[in-house]
Each structure stands twice: as C-alpha cells, then as structure tokens.
Symmetry: D2
Subunit: 479 residues, 4 copies
C-alpha cells in the first residue's frame, strides 16, 4: 500500500465514525463534509497528495524495507546525515505547503512515532513493557500511512507544586484494571489536537508529571475504540470564505479533551504500563526530543518566513518602509529567522549515532531554538500588529466587494500600491494570523509547544555544562 | 426633555434608518433587533437607564441651565474643581457599568462635544467660522440627550511622510462645493466607531494631517443625512451566548468607514470650513485634549481594575499564587493601576481655569497616562495569556454543558477551587478579553486610542519643558 | 544648640576618631582632610550650612519644643498635612543641593530616626523593650543635630532559602552576653554607608531575616564605641578634579562592613533586644516605611530631573534632537519623572493620622514608586549611555586642557553647539553618573535601595487588596 | 624574520617613541614600563609568545610564501574552508588567552589588513589608487609581524542628518596638499584604540560618512611619523593589583584621538586618495566585513563563555542556583552563547570564494550576530549585576587581606562555599567586568563595535532579500 493519496485519507477518515462531541452534539455524517472539519481535512488531503506529485515524490517517500512500496519519508529512521537532510527536505515540503501553520501535520506525528519505535530497544527486558508492540505499530503505520494524534498531558486541575490528586474517581487517565484482553483506562487526557480526526491516538505518559504508577503507560488505539470520546473546544473557524478567513477556513485543527470511559486497550497495543520509571526514563533516552524538535523547528522556520513576507507586504501596501522604527522591527524578525536557521543547521551538522544506530540531530541547538521561539513568535505577531496599526481593524468582508458599495471600497480603501480588494485581502490575512481567535490560538500554541517557557528556561540551564566555563574562570583567578 | 432612558434611546435609534452596509447588504429593520447591533444597543440602553436609577441619578445628571430638566452630567462644562470631581464620579459610574470595555460610551462623546462647545469663543471672528452653530448643537444635544459618534481621521492610503493626495476624485472627504443651503462634502473618513448607531456624526479635521484647505472643516449632521453611508467592517461578535462570548455579545461597537456621497451640510450645521489654520489651532487651544483624555483615563482605570480582578480569578482557579513569576507579573498590573490613578488625581489637583472659564484638568499627567496605557495594556493582555496558559484554549461551549457529556466536563474540567462550569466561564471571559477577535480589537484600540504611540512619544518629549532641567545642570557645571 | 553649621559638623566629626580601616590601614588624622572622605564631608558640611542660609532657613528648621532653638526640620514628626508638605519642601532643598546623588544625606537618617521614635509607643510594655531610650536618643539627636548611619542587613553568606547559620562563632551580629552595663554584641553587619563618618550608628534588625532571637535587637551607639570597627570597601573616588570626576570627587559616600568585636551597648542605648516578634512587628507597624520612602522618593525625583537635564544637554551638544528613537528614549525619562511625581503627590494627599498621631503619607503609592524606580533608574542610565554613544569614552582629562595640546582639543573636540572644553565637561559628568565605578555603584544602590526587586514585586502583590476586584468580576459572571 | 616573540614586540615598541599625550603630558621613556601602558603591553607580549609555544605554534603560524619563515596565521588569506577553520582555531587561541577582553588584539588588525590586501585587485585601474602599495604593506607586515591600530571614524561634532562641515580649518582629517613626496594630511580622526602603541596606523575612510573628496583616502604610516599625535582619553586602569583590578591592570587598551598636524604621507604609503567612489565601494566589495566580523564573533563567543563561567561562579559562591529567576537569567546567557556559535558555524559552512579567490565566510550570519551581540552583551552585564546584587559593592581591597583585619574579613565575608579571600576575588572580577570604568567601557565598546546599533538594524533589513518571502505570500493570496 504505502503512501496514501488525499482521497484515500479522506475515505479512511470518513469510515471511522469516532465519538466526537462539539458544541453539545455528537458529530455524525461524513467528517470531510462537516463544517467544523472539512477545511482541515481538505488541507491534510492536499498534503497527502504531495506524496504523489511526480516532481517531489522522491523527496517525500522511500521504499519500504518490507514491501518495497513507496512509504512516507517522515517514517524514515535516519541512519546517516544524508538521511537526516532528506528528512529536512521532506519536512520543508510539508511545512511550505501549509506555511508552517499546521502544527500537527502528518509528518510531525509520523516523526514522533518513528522516534519512539527506533528507540524501542530501550524497553527490552523492562517490566511491563512490550517493545515488539511498538515496533509492530510503527511498521503498520508506515505501510498503511496511518494518521495519528497524540496526547501527553494530564488535565490542568491544580498547578500548585504541592498538589496531589487524591479523589476517588480518576481525573487524569489511569489504569483501573487489567484482564486477559488488555488494560482498562478511565479518566481524561488534555489537548489532543485533531482528536478524532485521525486513524489512531498515541497516548504516552511523561514522567515528571506522574505521581501514580497507574498513570504511567503508553499505547496506541484507533480513534473509534469503544469508550473513547473526544470533546471539542469551541471552533475557531471564522467562516468559509478564504478571502475573509484565509487561515481558519483551511487550517483550524481543533483541540479536544480525550475521555477514556473504561476503554479496553488490547495487550498487543500496549507499549508499557504501570511503570513510572520507564515512563520517565524512556522519554529522556529515546530520540523523541531530537526528532520532534527537529521537525518543529523546520516548520517554525517556514512559518517565520511566511510572517516576514506578510509583514513586508503590509509595509509595501501602506508604504512605510522609510521609517526607522519599522526597519528596526523588521530586523528583529530577520534576526529571529536567521538564528533559527543557524541553530537548525548546527543540530544537523552535529548529529551523531545514538545507541540504537539512529542519526540523531544534536538536541542542544534544538532546545535553544525551542526556548527562543516561544518568546520571539509572540513578538513577531506583535510587530505585525504594530505595523498594520489601525488598518488591521476596519476590514470589510468579501461580500462587501460583491455589492453595490464596491466602488466606494475601491476608491476609499485603495492603498499606496494596491487596489482596495488586494489591500483588504492582505490585511485580512495579517489579521487572521495575528488577531483572529484562530491566530491567537496559534500564538498560545507556539508559546507552549514544548511546555511552560519558564520551565524550559530552567531545564536548559540545569542541563547545560556550565562547569567547564567555571573552570576557566577559576584558572584565570588561580582558584 | 433632558436625560433619556434606555427605551427612549432605543426608540429614537430605531426611527433613524441610516444607510448602513454590512457584509455587502444594506441594513434594514429595527437596529435594536439586528444581530449585529442589538447587544451594543441594549448595553447602551442600560447605560441611559442608569440616569434614572434613583440611587445615583444625582451623580449622573444636573439641572439644565435652560430648561431646568435633569440633563446628563457628561454635558457639564466644569467651572470648579468640585464640578470636575463630579464629572469623575459620573464617568466612573458609566465605565464601571461596562467594565471600561465600551470605548465610545455616551459620556465620552458628550465630553468631546462639551469640550468643543465650551471653547467655541475661540472661533469668534475667525474666517469661515460659526461658533454659534457649535453652541447651538451642544445645547440641543444636552437637552435632548443626543447620541454621537465622531470621525477625525482620513483614510490610510499612504503613510509615507512625503505623500500628497493628488488624484482627481477625492479620497479624504473634502468640500467640493458651497451653495445657499450649505457646503457639499465628497470623500471618506475612517473609523467611526458605532457609525450609524447614533443620532449624529461629529466630523472634525485635525490640523496636522491637512494638506488641502478643503479638508479643513468641522460640523455635525444626523446619521440619516442623504448621501451619508456607513460601511461596517466584519463583525467581531462571536455569538449570542453570554457564557461563550461574555464581552462580544454585549459590547461589540462596530467600526465603520464613513462615506460622504455629495452630502449637503446645511450652513447652520457648519462650525468652520476651508480654514486649515483654524483646524490646526482650535484643536490645540480648545479643551478637547484635557477633557477627552480625562474621560478616557478614568475608563482605562476601571478597565485595568477589571483585568486585575479577572487575572487574580484565573490564579485562584488554577492555584498558582505561590509562583514568584506569577507574583511579578501581577505586580506589573498593580504598578500600572496605581500609576494611572496617581496621574488622574494629579491632573485633577492641578486643574486650572482656561481662558474661557472652564476648569481644565492638567493635561500633562493625562498625556503621560495616554502614552503609558498604549504600552501597558497590551502587556496586561499578554500577562493574562501567560497566566491562563494552555487553559485559555481548550474551552468547550455553553451547549456542551447542556448535553449528555456534562458529567465528563464536570469531572475532567474541574479546577482546584471551582466546578468545571465556573472554571470554563471564567476562562472564556479571559479568552474573550485577550484572545477573541473582539479582544484583540480592544488591544489594538487601546494601543492607538490617541494615535500612533511612536508619535505620542515624540510629542510628549518635544512639548516638555526640558530646558529648566538643563539650566540646573549647566549651573552645576558652571557653564 | 539646634541645627548645626557645616563647620560645627566638621569639627565634631574630626574629634570622633572612630576605628575605620581602608585598604588595609587604620585611618588616622583629621577625617575632613583625608582624601577618602574630604569630598563627602565638605558636601555634607555644605548641606548643614543650608540650615543657616537666611533665604531658606525657615524651610529647613523649626523651633525645638524643648529648647525653642531652631532644629532640623527632618526631625519633625508631622501632625498635619501642612507639616508633611513642609517636610517635602525641606527634603527637596537637601536633595536639590546634591542633585539627588547623596543617598544617606542627613535628612534621610533623621527621618528614619524620627519614624522610629514617633512610633516608640508601640514598644511600651513589650518584653525586653525600652521605648524611653529611643525617645531620648531622638530628642538628643534633634537638639544636637547628630549625624547617623544605619545598618539593617546581615552578611550575605548564603542566599539559599534553606540556609541557617549554625557556626560557633557568629557571623551575623548577635547578643552574646548581657550584664549590668548592657548587652554585648559580637559579629558583623553589612553595608553601613558613610560608616564611621557619623556621630552614631543606628542598628536595627529587620524581622524577616531573623532566625535567632539573639539577632533581634535595636540600638544606637557612637561611632567611636570601643570594639566597633568599620571596614571600608575600595574607594570609588576617581580623583580630585571636579572637571574629571564631578560626582565622585564630592559625593563618594563609602560603604563599610560594621564589625562588633564584643561591643558593649549600654542599657540606656538599647531599644529592644532578643525579641524576634518585636523586631518583625515593629518594622511593619511603625512609620519607617512611610517616612523613609517619602524622603527617598523626593530625592529620586530630584535625581531624575538631573538625569533629564543632563541627557538633554548631551542631545543639544551633539545635535541629535531630531531623531525619533532619541525622542522616544527621552519620553521614557519624562514618563518616569511624571509618574514618580504623581505617586508622591498621591501619597501626600492620602496621608492620614496613624495610631500615634503622626500624619503618615499613604505608603502604597510610595511602594509602587519604589518598585518602579528600581527598574527605571537603570534604564535611564542605559538611555544616557545610548545617547552619549562613543562620545562617552574618548574623554581627555582636565590637565589635557592645561597643556600644549589644548588647541588640538579645542579644534577637534568641539561640538555642534559647544566649545571642546564644555563638551568634555558635560560628557565627563554623564560618564561619572553612568559609567564610572561611582556611577555604577549608584545604579546598583538605587536598584537595591529597598531590597531585592524580585521580593519587592512579590510583597506588593501579596499585600494588595485584589479581592475587591475579583468580587466585581464574580458579580459580572454571576458566580 | 616572521612571527615575533613577546620580547621582540616589546623591544620594537620601546624604540618607536611616538608622540603620545596623556593627562596633559607628553609620554616619554620606555612605553613598556609606563604605568598607563605596561599592563597592556605585557598582555600583548604574552600573545606574541603564544606563537612560539611548541604545543600550538603550528596552529598559530604558517610558512611565508616568500621567505618560508613561520608567519602569523592571522595574515593568511584563506583559499579553502580548511584555511578558514585554521583561522578560527588561531583566533580562538588568541581570544582564549585574553578571555575575549582584548578588542584590538593583533589577530584582529592583521585580519583587517589581510582583508584589504586580498581585495587589492579592486583598486586596479581606479583613479588615484595604488593597489601595489597596499600589497607591499601587507607583505611587509606579515614578514615582520608588524602591529597596527586603525582609525576609520571622523570626529563626532554634529550628528544631525543635515550637517555639513564647512569651517576653514579642517576638523575631520583631509588632504590639504600633495607634492612630490606624497600627500599632506591635516585634521583629526577618532578613537584609535591602542593608538601610539603599535608600529603602524592604518587609516581608512568609510564611504558613507564622506562629504568631501579630500576626506576619502587610505594609507598606513608608522606611529612615529612627524606631525602625528595621539591624545589619550583618561585611563581606566584601576590600579596595579590583579586581585583588585584583574582586568584593567592587564587589558586597558587606551583609546586616543589621532591628530594629523600636516602629516606627509609618502606616495608609496598611499592606497588611494581624493576618491569618494572608491572609498565607498571598496569597503562594500572587499572582504573586510566578512573577515573582520568573523574574527570579532569568535572573540565575542569566547567572552560570552567567560561571562557564563563567571556568573555561574557567583551563583555557586552565594548559593542561589535554586531560584527560578536566576535560572531564567542564566538561560538567557546560554541561549545567547549557543546562538552566536550556530551563527559562526553557519557563516563558515556557507563560505564561498570571492572574485579574488579568497574563501569568505558568509557575511549574513555574521551581520546577524553583530546586531545581536550589541544588544545581548549589555544584558549579560546587567544579569551579572542582578545576580551579584549588593555583594558587588562592598568589596575590600587586596591590602585589606594583608592587614590586621584579615581575620575579620575571613569570618564575615566568607560565603556559602568559599573562603572570604576567594569570594572577594571572584566578586572583584565580576565588578571589574561589569561595573568598573574599564568594564563599562567594554560594554559601550561591544555595543558600538560595528557602529550605531539603530543603523545596523536598518542596514540588515534594507539589505535582506525579503522579496522572495513576499512572493510566497502573494502566491498564497493569488495576487
């Protein structure tokens, strides 16, 4: 089978019929035709079609070691630097097609799964751990081009440092029973982006948040598993017009809470369970951070390029390139972009084989980039607002241009260099990226992509080899 | 007649039938029942009703010097510091009722009109100027409690310093003819908030932007004047539910472009025309800056209180009060709030009689506050996002709580201190203020309230008496 | 006796002969002629002489309630708002004379002593407390115009939250014995500015830092008390030329470590001892924070005026007023200055009588100002560096102007508006305030005046009445 | 001859006897024994000795293509990426030896000269240009290991955009005559660091600042040329003790104004003159920016490592590693360091041959790094001050430790982890880098290394290929 087309993806999703709730109603009918999901599904379908575009097919697929079929290159566990650069190219293609806007594009999740599976040997011989299940799932996913979402985080009930959940009924999902068929999960997980819109849900526990062994597990199950519910947040689609809502009409990915209502996870789907040590250590040792951060950084670079281009387009439209404060703001974006690129390149140049033979990019520059982006992305958005100024607000809709007042709009909304229609189109895009509910969710999403920025800062410092620099100072001071 | 009630306001607006275009359609039917406007109109009606609330009626009205009727206190031209403090109290009442969210509340526009009219003597004897018309309009407005919008700014075609409009057909509204009945205006003006939803439109030219004498005029005309069109931007109402959209459902004020399609402004409505010198100097000399900035600062203080309360509510809900970085962020809001209050008080303490006998607040502390708020408001909003974190995103709708999944929500979205329903309600309010299209428009609006912040900074410096401090340094240096 | 003259001050200090160590040597000879101290002592003497300047004598003194002699107004415990405004005026005189540069000017310390003494009733009936000693000291100080330093802080050995000192030999000064004559103190205190250069040292314990009851005490002793040693830090005097070092030549106050080498504090000098509760509570309840912060804020305003004047002088000298980024930076200083003034005025307007009948300024605006200044002062200094640019560096000395190369300097260092000599003089002043060792110590001093800024932020938030704002939001949300 | 030793350098400098003025006196005697210069000269001598250190000699020299002697590798015009990496290694050695503190280390100036000479072909056939002189000077310098300073900037008389110098007597150095022997220069140049302490002065005009052709020239002359004067700024040496002044005692480089008092520059020393077009274009086309920025960035990375090590040492000394705000500040330094490294690596990876066959590092990442460092270096210094807090101030001198009060210091200044002596030594180093007059000059120097940061931002933006990103957005919008 191998790499699927957009239509194959749509057909498979439409047959799934998972339990999704939105605005108080259970979703029914074809997902690809539902107003809440069709924009995203079409955008993802276009991504899958890229795999069959003769011009770039070879850059997006590789021959399956099992079947020889062309399978998605995001599944490739790189063994050489060339492999890594192939991965970069492939990720750039996916990201460019969506301008870096789609966070949970298939290549991201395939990368996550690959990173876990290519480190599966870690699980060998560990208690309550089943590496073979993880490898089998990965191979199945690769051969069938399965789509995934993941959920790592438990509900945000109480963020105090001293809090311990101790209610009788679980809030955070946990193993409440095990039997011959598998383990039984009850409780919830937070923020599965595209939850319910993928073949499978990958569920992993992240060690540091675990206080109960029962919350320490990893598995993958189909989205339509019995007892599995996806509860959507409010939609951020502004409308169907791609003039009015150029981004939200196509890229609203939806986030949902995942409820496990006594969900049976069959044994062959379990990677490990009830093992806090493994949950904590696996995430540290496996290549997840290296490969996931590599994919994310490439996407963020493409997104930054998009922001740079769009901001420059605003500048040209209203002719403000001459102002020094505009120049300084633009230089901030350029510095950000070039910095991200340099960090990416360094992570690739310094890639090295891990203990399981995979060519991991150096994770340090990627961590630095992750820290940085959580701060500079919101600033880029602010810069866009500051350059667009009041022009970001008084924007009529597409329908206005198809009405008797068109000639008024043409006359009064023209800009220095653009007709009114184009000017409004450009500013609406800037608005949708920086000021719509869709856009602000993007900001929050990038800010928290890898967790609380405050904690990321601490982690960076506490894991950094500062002592070698201390030694030099001590040497200078003869201490 | 005097101060009107909410119902009187609604009735009058409903009879107006101005030419408003939204989303390509001419608005028809009762404005107060139109989905785009009813929330705002009801909110404004509630404000007018305050004037008849026996508990505070005396703080919101004063006896008309003409009729003796109770008229709106926002029309009062203060002659003493007591008058000024009465005005503060009155503005606080209006602002508190809307949490500082409504920018163009009636007291703001009444204040603007009062500030112009109480400086009308300036226009005496000036060419093409008619102070008596301004005074008459003011008195009519006061006695009938007319509602206004205003428009000061010309379209943003080209923001280069060197740009001069030289097309044949006007873009910026200008006088294209004068005849026995009055002057004829053609062209457009930008950003009339609540445009079309008020009895009258106050049109003033602001001197510095004028390159043509024909663009230098001031008048007021009814919203339903022939040839006058209001073209709405896209609406930022998220929906009717005040659980889901607690702010936009009630406070979306709409902004519109005002088109003058050969509009005849009768002579008795003209305050001045074709006089660039007057346009420039009147704004400098009249009490507009002092009184308008006084009203705005009071509203912004109330809004900051609302932000402080709401942010603290987020903190309590998820129990993060113990974190030092949270404490530091909250101290930023507190410092902002206390600073604004101190500046307000100083402007009142240092009020003085102007040449026309009006007790003007000192404008310097108000300018400082205006500069400051354009920078700290966006930071407050950012702080709210940083404290709410990912919890700002995954928010189900009200309907979800009235559906079979309610018990899941109750269990999985509960917070440290609140049931799920309350927690979601609180976070939706924070989202609506900081991340919805309505909220981001608020941010942009506060940022640009008195114009480009960069220019405000320059103005503050260039008008500040720095030389007295230079002298002291010269003295110290014996120069 | 009453308010002393500069000469009286000098004579008294010269007779004192305290044990001061600087650069490894015990200081001997007349302090007023010692290169390390003479600049400061002359500057202080000039301040004392102000009290006899007929033009302002009445604004600097008041008749002693005991002797009727004119005594320093900084000793006045204000009973009315008029008293408070008199204090403001007096502080302005002192601060203006030294441009706000001298942090431990006599009015500061007199204010501190007055604030303790006017709250002495608090100590009545408390264990191991002797309010009568405090009042007696205050009266003596007032009648004799004694000069003071104070020391509140214990040595910075270990700043971890969990640290407890447990060595055998005390580091932080503590009571190691008591006998018929008094209590015996051994250990050290940190950072007595002007330590050894004043009649007395006021020693207070600040509650929150106390882990041992033996560290909880308060007293005042003469600087030449047996066993009392002052160990100076390195001097920041750049040289004697007031062209080259206009500030450090006159205002270097020196900071010293105070060592108590079994110092006997006579009973009549002890205010309280071995009482942690009193140490903690007295500081909270007494008027120290209100009056000290009032004095400090007035000084900081004068200093900000000096910075504003000097920065403008740089701008005029090199003719950069036209640049928007320069204008924006200057507006930052102006906003800071006006904000501080407004906060000061608010604290005075809202002054109220405390339980002991003293008219205390409202402490909240003063706390806000203190928080703010610790952040904006370093920014002001940075602005000065950014405006002065490379011109801050290449500055020849005064001697260069009295040498054969004078004509080269005159030609090549002239500025747009100033001869070379004046230009260098102006830039050297800017350098001495912002870049010399003296200047950077000033920055650090203002940054930490009232303690760690991070802790100040937390304190502000944790003591602020946020709940009333939460209530309004709850009301709006019907929670 | 080739690479010299420290002693050879000292001997040569001592024979030079240039006209240097400091503090109003003409310097006489051996420069290497003069208090103002001996620290620097010894530090430079140690750098030259590195070239003879058998362990690293091969990394610091290469065989002269003329003589075969080992000559300094900083003179190597790289032809391959391997050459470029050799240059990196060599620069790291020099920088590490001085912790990145010495800005005008010989490798910097050799690099500058190499970059000009290796682009000398540009001058071929240009009017009033003599490329052969430039090449000859370079070869002489390489073979004799000559030391240089340079001066590019004209005096800062008036920074207004509209200023034109029009006095009769020149301020900026210019050609006032030419004759058979050469050209005659009168006027001044600014800020020659180490001016008078080098064999030669390299004088270049930078195009954009030129309004008169007579100011457009380039040449090199010996420091003891007749009529050439160096006027020193005030010295920033704090003293001779390397405990008290660990940096300024060794690394104070001095800056001086260079006066040309009718200096005759022989024709064989002139590279070009009276040619504004060449002055402007040569700097753009030659490899100066690429190679100079490459050297500078490597040095700045080494300096950042030193800052990181020193700051960590402060943290360890007072035991504050546990505080989140400390962790966040340290992460800022780490992010800065890693970013600079990544940009350096990228510039090397993307190096390419220029039209004259030299392997130039890619200048864009270097420009980005230059922009960045001018902002982050001052922040690093601020972080050091914030972490050191009041402990940066109360620092006794070395002599204090060799005196009777040593035991007091030992007891009361001990830290959590260090004896008092070491603690004071560490803090004095932090003080000397961040707060002494030497340290603040370093800050200003790094901030302005490549010119006004505001202008650097504009240059970066205005030279950046933004249009390719605009095209992508236009494509997305179908414009």
């Amino acid at each position: 089978m191998g790499a699927i087309s957009g239509q194959q993806y749509i057909d498979r999703i439409n047959q799934l019929n998972p339990e999704i709730w939105a605005d108080g109603k259970r979703i029914s009918g074809l997902l690809s035709e539902h107003p809440l999901f069709k924009g995203l599904i079409l955008s993802k379908a276009a991504l899958y079609d890229l795999q069959h575009n003769p011009k770039i097919k070879d850059e997006l697929t590789f021959p399956s070691p099992i079947s020889g079929d062309a399978v998605g290159l995001s599944f490739l566990a790189p063994k050489t630097k060339e492999d890594l650069l192939k991965r970069r190219k492939m990720i750039e293609h996916w990201a460019t097609h969506t301008h870096g806007i789609m966070g949970r594009s298939p290549d991201y999740l395939n990368t996550v799964l690959m990173s876990f599976a290519s480190s599966a040997d870690y699980l060998k011989g560990k208690e309550k751990s089943f590496p073979e299940n993880l490898i089998r799932l990965y191979e199945t996913a690769r051969e069938k081009d399965l789509t995934f979402t993941h959920t790592f985080i438990t509900p945000q009930v109480n963020r105090s440092q001293l809090h311990l959940e101790n209610g009788e009924s679980p809030i955070a999902a946990r193993v409440i029973a095990e039997n011959e068929q598998g383990i039984v999960i009850k409780g919830a997980r937070l923020l599965a982006t595209q939850g319910g819109l993928t073949d499978e849900v990958l569920v992993f526990s992240i060690g540091k948040f675990i206080f109960n062994e029962e919350e320490a597990f990893a598995f993958s199950i189909p989205s339509n598993t019995k007892g599995l519910k996806f509860i959507c947040r409010d939609s951020f689609i502004g409308g169907e017009s791609d003039f009015d809502h150029p981004l939200s009409s196509s890229y609203e990915e939806m986030d949902s809470i995942v409820v496990f209502d006594n969900v049976l996870v069959p044994w062959e789907r379990v990677f490990f369970y009830n093992n806090g040590d493994v949950a904590e250590e696996f995430l540290e040792k496996c290549s997840f951070h290296a490969f996931a951060k590599h994919q994310v950084l490439i996407r963020q670079i493409v997104k930054t390029e998009f922001i740079l281009g769009l901001t420059e387009l605003l500048i040209k439209t209203i002719n403000v390139r001459e102002y020094q404060h505009i120049q300084e703001k633009m230089s901030e974006i350029i510095i950000g972009l070039e910095t991200l690129r340099a960090l990416l390149e360094k992570s690739e140049n310094h890639a090295s084989l891990d203990e399981w033979g995979n060519m991991r990019p150096d994770v340090l520059p990627l961590k630095v980039a992750g820290n940085l982006f959580s701060k500079i992305y919101p600033r880029f958005i602010e810069i866009m607002q500051l350059i667009g100024a009041s022009g970001m607000i008084t924007l009529p809709t597409e329908q206005s241009f198809h009405s008797p007042i068109r000639k008024d709009l043409d006359q009064y909304l023209q800009s220095a260099t653009k007709p009114a229609y184009d000017r409004v189109k450009i500013f609406r895009l800037a608005w949708d990226l920086s000021m719509s509910a869709f856009g602000t969710r993007q900001t929050q999403y990038e800010r928290y992509f890898f967790g609380d920025p405050i904690r990321l800062s601490s982690d960076l410092y506490l894991s950094y080899p500062v002592n070698e620099y201390v030694s030099k100072v001590n040497h200078f001071l003869k201490l």
